[in-house]
Symmetry: C2
DNA sequence: TTTTATTGTCTATTTTAGAGACAATAAATT
DNA sequence: AATTTATTGTCTCTAAAATAGACAATAAAA
C-alpha cells in the first residue's frame, strides 16, 4: 500500500486542523506526536484528493482522528510562506526511506513531493470532547488534548495556526452561536458561562450573561439538575436549533464579549 | 518564453482577486475579458511561484493589473470544489495549442497541468480607483470596472467569489477602518457616507453618521472645500494613521452598519 | 432551625444609538 | 442689498441597550 501517491493527491497543498475541545474549565486542542524517529508535535492534517472538495477533505481528516462525523468545521485562513517545508518530516522520512521503499509503502517520487514547500489551508473544529476517542494517524505515536495556553512547540508554523484559529473562534463564538458545539447535549447556565470565560480568558458578570443568553431565544429550558451541592438546583438547558418561526423574525445577535 | 512552466509554479493552486474601486457613488470590481477564442469574463488571477509567499503572489498579481504597489489586500476564503476546472480556458487553449506550441509559448506538460482541477485562494483588494490604470494580462482583450451590482457572468465560480468578498468587506469595512483605501487622499464627510451607502446598499442618517465617524478619532479636519454650490462649504478630511498615543488607549470601534 | 453557597430575576443607573431640530453659510434669485 | 435655497455642522431629546446593584428562592450543611 502506498502512503502518499503523488497522483492521488493535490501536490504541495495540505489541510491542517485545530480541533478545539472543552473540559474542566479549559479550552483544549488535539495535538499529535510523531516519531520519525525524532519526536515532534503537529496538528492533525492531511492532503486533498484529486476529486475531493477541500471541505470534505477536512471532514475526512477530522473523522480519521476523532471518529466523529457532523463536526462543526470552519475554514479560517491559508498559511503560505515559502519557508513552509516540513524539515522534521523530511528528515524522519530519510531515516525510514529504506524500510518503506522495501515494503513499497513509498516510492521515490512520493518522497520528492513531500519534501517540497507546502501551502496549508487552516480549518478549526469544535467538538464535544466526551464524544471523541482520539485516534492515531499512521505515523503518530500519540494523540492528546492540550490546554490551549500550554501547548507544546509544534512543527513549522503550527503554533501560529492555533493562535490564528483562537482569534477567529473568539470573533465568531457568539456571533454564530457555535459555542454549544463544545458542550454536551444538556448543560447549566454556569457551564455556558465558564466556557465563554475559558475561550475569552476573562470573567463575565453572571446576572447579565444569563439575561443576554436567554434573550437569544436559542436555549430550551429543561428540568432542574440536582447536583448535591448546598444550593438551589440550576436548570438544565439544551441548544434549540433555529425553528421556522424564529427564522421569520430576523434575529439580532449581540456580542457577549 | 514559456507561459506556464509547471515547475515554476505550484500546481493546481491559484489566486483570484476581487479588486474593489469606488466611483460615481458606485462600488466597482475590476473584471478581465479573455478571448480564447470565445469571449469569457474572469477575475484577475494568477499562480504562486515555488519560492513565493501567497501574500506576495497576490500583491504581484495586483501590481500586474493595476500598476499599484502598497494595495490594501486581504485573504478572505479558499474555493476548493472539485468541479473547479476551467473548461473555457482549456477549450480555448485547445484552439491556440498548435500556434503556441510552435512558438514555444507552451509545451504539452504545461497544458496538462492547466486542464486539471484548481483550488483557488480568494483575495480582495481596495484601491483608489483614480490611481489605477488597468493593465491587460497576457491573454486579456480588455480590463474594465463593473458596478458590483451589474457584473457580467464570469467563468466557474468567479461571481460567487465576488459575493463572498463583498460579504467579507461589509463585515470588515468600519471594524478595521479600511474604507478610506477606496477614497482619495482627502474627502468630505458626505463622500465617506456615500461610500458606506454604496458598500452596504442602504442609507445612513447624516447627523449620527458624522458623529460616529468623528468620534472614531481617525480623521484629521483640513480646510474647507469651496465647491461652487449654493451651500455652506464642507470641511475636507484626511485619514489619520494611528498614532502612538492613540495606540496606547485601546480604541473601541463601533459598528456603523 | 439556622447558616452557607449559589441561582434566578428584578430594578436602578449609566452608556450608547437614533430621531428631530436648528443655526450657519455659500451661492442663486429677486 | 435683501431674500431664498440647499446643504452643512452640531445640538438636544428620546429610546434602547449595557452594566451594576440588590435580593428572594432554594438545597444542603451545620
Amino acid at each position: 500500500m502506498k502512503l502518499f501517491n503523488e497522483e492521488y493527491f493535490i501536490r504541495q497543498l495540505s489541510i491542517d486542523c485545530v480541533i478545539f475541545g472543552y473540559q474542566e474549565l479549559e479550552l483544549k486542542v488535539l495535538v499529535s506526536r510523531v516519531a520519525l524517529p525524532n519526536s515532534v508535535w503537529t496538528l492533525p492534517g492531511g492532503f486533498i484528493r484529486q476529486e475531493e472538495s477541500i471541505d470534505l477533505a477536512a471532514q475526512r481528516i477530522l473523522e480519521e482522528r476523532t471518529g466523529l462525523t457532523d463536526i462543526y468545521l470552519e475554514q479560517y485562513r491559508v498559511f503560505g510562506e515559502p519557508s513552509r517545508i516540513n524539515h522534521e518530516i523530511v528528515e524522519g522520512f530519510n531515516n525510514m526511506k529504506k524500510e518503506w521503499l522495501s515494503k513499497s509503502m513509498l516510492d521515490e517520487s512520493s518522497f520528492q513531493w513531500l519534501s517540497k514547500r507546502f501551502v496549508s489551508i487552516g480549518y478549526y473544529a469544535l467538538v464535544d470532547i466526551n464524544k471523541v476517542s482520539p485516534r492515531k494517524g499512521m505515523l503518530d505515536t500519540s494523540v492528546d488534548w492540550y490546554n490551549v495556553k500550554e501547548l507544546p512547540t509544534m512543527i513549522m508554523d503550527h503554533n501560529e495556526m492555533v493562535d490564528a484559529a483562537l482569534e477567529t473562534l473568539r470573533q465568531n463564538l457568539d456571533q454564530k452561536l457555535i459555542g454549544f458545539n463544545l458542550l454536551p447535549e444538556t448543560f447549566t447556565m454556569r457551564e455556558v458561562q465558564e466556557l465563554y470565560e475559558a475561550v475569552y480568558d476573562k470573567p463575565f458578570a453572571r446576572n447579565n450573561f444569563q439575561k443576554k443568553m436567554l434573550d437569544l431565544n436559542v436555549l430550551e429550558r429543561l428540568e432542574k439538575k440536582f447536583t448535591g451541592a448546598q444550593n438551589k438546583a440550576p436548570y438544565l438547558y439544551r441548544f434549540q436549533k433555529v425553528t421556522q418561526q424564529s427564522m421569520e423574525e430576523p434575529q439580532v445577535i449581540e456580542n457577549l464579549s
